[in-house]
Assembly symmetry: C2
Homo-oligomer: 440 residues x 2
Amino acid sequence: MNIVLLSGGSGKRLWPLSNEVRSKQFLKLLCDKEGKHESMVQRVYRQITDAGIHARIVVATSASQVEAIRGQLPKDVDIVVEPERRNTFPAIVLAASYLASRKKIDLEETVIVLPVDPYVDVAYFECFRKMDEEVQKGTADMVLMGITPSYPSEKYGYILQGEQGVVTGFKEKPDEETAARLIQEGALWNAGVFAFRLNYLMEIADQYVQNRDFDDITKHYGDLKKDSFDYEVVEKTKSLAVVPYSGEWKDIGTWNTLTEEMEEESVGYAVTGEDCENTHVINELSIPVVALGTKNIVVAASPDGILVSDKHKSSYIKPYVENITGRPMYEERRWGEYKVYDYIQYKDGTKSLTKHITVHAGMAQDYQLHHYKDEVITVVNGSGEFVIDGCLMKLSYGDTICIRRGQKHTMRAIEDLQMICVQIGEEISEEDVEVYEWRW
Amino acid sequence: MNIVLLSGGSGKRLWPLSNEVRSKQFLKLLCDKEGKHESMVQRVYRQITDAGIHARIVVATSASQVEAIRGQLPKDVDIVVEPERRNTFPAIVLAASYLASRKKIDLEETVIVLPVDPYVDVAYFECFRKMDEEVQKGTADMVLMGITPSYPSEKYGYILQGEQGVVTGFKEKPDEETAARLIQEGALWNAGVFAFRLNYLMEIADQYVQNRDFDDITKHYGDLKKDSFDYEVVEKTKSLAVVPYSGEWKDIGTWNTLTEEMEEESVGYAVTGEDCENTHVINELSIPVVALGTKNIVVAASPDGILVSDKHKSSYIKPYVENITGRPMYEERRWGEYKVYDYIQYKDGTKSLTKHITVHAGMAQDYQLHHYKDEVITVVNGSGEFVIDGCLMKLSYGDTICIRRGQKHTMRAIEDLQMICVQIGEEISEEDVEVYEWRW
């Protein structure tokens, strides 16, 4: 079995913890069985293992999420990077072609596609076995997962089913009355989980791109129709079956729904008065958050900002934060992470940015240069090696290095390397970087 | 007329904005007539001027507040520093001896003593003229200000008066019934404002210290009884009069009372949803605070921490923040200010601290050395001069200087000088400083 996880959308609904580079699925606010924090992505990966499913896992995502996924999932998970954002149909075709041409998967094998962030029971993944079985038995060209509805929701899509799990149609966002009738007739919610033989999709892809080769599809990605997989594939498939799942199934994409699933009332440095009611504090800063006498409130603090919101109102956050521009203040990278302390723009047009950087032991940054900024780096903990314009030197506690614009540089951590980096220049951005090759 | 302002107490009731070195009276949260922010100290100083009073002003305080007062009040205000904290009687004697022996004030002149942070109308200060008149006429040895009570409070002291403003007694914190009766009999609240001839107090001081000289009293400060001025002087004075004041008079020492007097709903970078009610945001950080759907809430954020509190509950803050130890993260100094970005303690026992420092144009730091920490300073804006172990050099945008422990150093700003300072060492504290003399 092959699993394709769709890791999409940079959203601001969990601002200030989610931003352009850190989507909600990477926030470590949930707890695993040992009480260790885990993100939604990590939870899904763990649950697949817990369900006893041995599958090849591919994550389809955009370039901006690669470093975060690399940092959170094991190395044997493959990542397929969309050359541009083009909706789910092109993304799934790209992942399928990766399995077919790069991984040389037997075209008869089952592929199961799902979003990377459903909040579900392990039983959800156990359901995958049944879906695989149906695909391999040839019950249908495509097998969907259907969630047993708990109320006549107006915001979901409904899968209508006939005898023995045969799908007879779809109904998108019906009114409440219609929804109630559909449920009585056995309709299920569409969870966006699809199972099919690899070959089935590759044949559809043939209509758009001449060659099924991964490199070819990457190159001609723009030729694939910018549409959803539901519309472009599922609804056009004649032979469809559905497998029901009746456990927990939730989108925890707002502070209101997310805090309901948190095991702790606070994460990070927080002090809450005993007169607080239904108050959650999520604090990623190193300074304390003190909450007194608050009711139904979520407080979330990160280097990007501080949110104090009534829980129900928290789902209406978007318009208030979309005008808060500014660079991301925290990023997880392949090699470690950085946290911006402050970014200042001066009247004379110059700018400065101060950040704390951690490079994990054994990891190295890219060999790079900047055109518009100088950097002063002070090692505050750990040790490593540093290269500037081809010269290698040791790096340890107390060392300060000045890197002028135009100088190529990289560093590698021996022990976890913590540094304070002061950048100054007329233009300070993460995009001001030119990468070169360096062999350690 | 001479005015002694008592600037006391480092309190945590306005945490996280007030801390050990920044008392509530220095927070610039009020507005002057032009809408410019001012602190309680600055407001009192401005109101004295607005009342048309030309007086010599002395602030009696502890060493920890000197830099903040210097930064907020004009240079012609004298500061008398208590050698140790010993309650109001010794502090007022010290200030009086300063006026007598250092300023050579005529001993017949009036001294008016008051707390530095009452929230009052200008009329309060106009009342000083009448108090001065009564003192000079010889109506009584001591003239008090009495606040016209607005309700039978149980938490104030009452001044009982007979005919023509003669004080007949005091009643400390009566029950409500007694308070109501006292008010009917013409009693007034004791505002802690006292007027007397300089000589009157100096004669009392003679009982404790042989010499009235300021240096002598400073040296023998421990011999002065550690007691309040009310108890040690006022209550023992036989001839007392009172002058009434009936305008606004408030202690704005809690978030609840302070926000009532703020003209703006938010100070600093704040976004509040239109569904917020009675919500105040005070943000001293450079990242945004977003408040949505909150009611009767105060949010205060500073480099020391973040408070989210129901307004009424905010007066019970003390026990929740007194265990939050840690160094002050923001300080105003004589030469400028600093803001700590982060203070990290590592497993191997080393520590690092990163701060942003501003030295105002024309100002210079002390010539100093540290025993336990090294510093790396990067100039991010402005220009100045720097001295290290006796060598003078220019300092400008982009310069980085490394100061090892044991090296004497100082700097002076030509234009406002902004720097990022990274400190590393086994022990990082503001107390690790040895000051030397340097002549620019």
